[in-house]
Amino acid sequence: MNLAIYIYQWFGFPLGVAIAISVAVFFIKNPEKFEKWASMIAWLVSRIYTNADYFATKAELQAKLNSFVGSLESHSSAVFPRVKIKWKAKGNDEVVWEEGNAIIVMRDRKHRNKNLVNASYRFTSEILLRKASRHLSKTQKLALDLFATQQILQQESRAALEQFMSDFYVPEIDKREAVRGLTQQYLKIAKVGLFFPTLVQELVYLGSKVFLAKPSQEIIEEVKKLTDFLEKFSEREVGDMDTPNTFSGKYTRCTIRIVASRAAREKGDITNHKEGINYYIRNKIENVYIIGSGEVKNKKFMNEVTSAVLEENTVVEEVKKYSFRGRIKLNGEWVSVKTYLIHLRNPQAIKHLYEENDIELSEE
């Protein structure tokens, strides 16, 4: 006891300062976490002071939606916009007519889940996936919006998720068979961890392309094929060499290279993988996703393969590498595994502007 008092007397103040600085630095680096805490406190205060719910609602929605974007960016190469809630007509604030600017109605503390559901769907469909859904059909866009909103709520609020599923998602799926089918595909792709890192990523790249001749139906068909390809790939058994690992469309060209062979790794033989990836690069594949076990030895081997590829193809860029929890199918059983993914992008293969002639040529 005496020792504790002695430590406090000598180190109490500097220790307190150090803790305060650490907490401040943590919150500066993680503003969403600060907003989450701040909103929790504000909800408590709002029991006594009703107007605190303005801050609580705004901070809660921003924290949850932006926190999802943060986790998304750590698992994909795309950069997504974040959200700010702006109150309109608050108290005596002046109201300005802003043509075409939709104003969403937020409820009081009893309807926090409803507020989150409405804000999440609006955020997903109009902000988060704006670029990704640029060339999609209405059905594809709706399925993508609903699935992504479900993913946000699954991560951020189970209670709001239940409300979204019962009031929104399930009735829509029941009414629209095509949305149900796409949802089933997304679910399979998400199970192995490739929904945002690969499918949405490819759609974001597709959304950056400009089609002067606007071959809308062709793109919609291509997105269907890309989704089918990723679904089949997600369903493959470990060791299956027959399922295609490359998607080569007219506007989207990507490949998924699995680097997980124990024999090659133990021999330290990178040649086969390196040449395989070089082949895709030569054949104008835009994105190469190198995927494998996230165990230390395999990550090291994957990094060696990547370094060798980058050395031989100086124009190719390593966009991102990251670890995540994926799933593999082993003897018919799904197993959760540490997964490592490296995304390489080949800028020489990318075409941003498509004219009518380009499309005709590519059809030949």
Partner: protein, 87 residues
């Protein structure tokens, strides 16, 4: 932090709805139950209102039915960027 892109969602607290609608000059009609949903054409009240859209000199209302929210989202996206047609 500064390199992150932020987009705004405008929101009105239900307590401020009368203030907003008064400033837009439609509160009395709203209170009288005369405002209809832009999509399903059913009556919009303080219990089922989802959004307000000031557009082309008029104030449009959107109710909280999932179909209307989806239609509204499609409408906003198409209006802002144009879209492709479904097969």
């Amino acid at each position: 932090m500064s390199d992150k892109e932020y987009r705004e969602i405008e929101a009105v607290h239900e307590r401020d709805l009368p203030n907003l609608l008064s400033k837009f000059g439609v509160f009395e009609k709203f209170r009288a139950g005369e405002m209809k949903c832009k999509f399903c054409k059913e009556q919009v009240t303080s219990a089922n209102i989802h959004s307000v859209l000031p557009e082309s000199g008029a104030v449009h209302f959107i109710c909280d039915k999932p179909d209307c929210i989806i239609n509204f989202s499609e409408y906003i996206v198409e209006k802002n960027k144009g879209s492709t047609n479904d097969s």
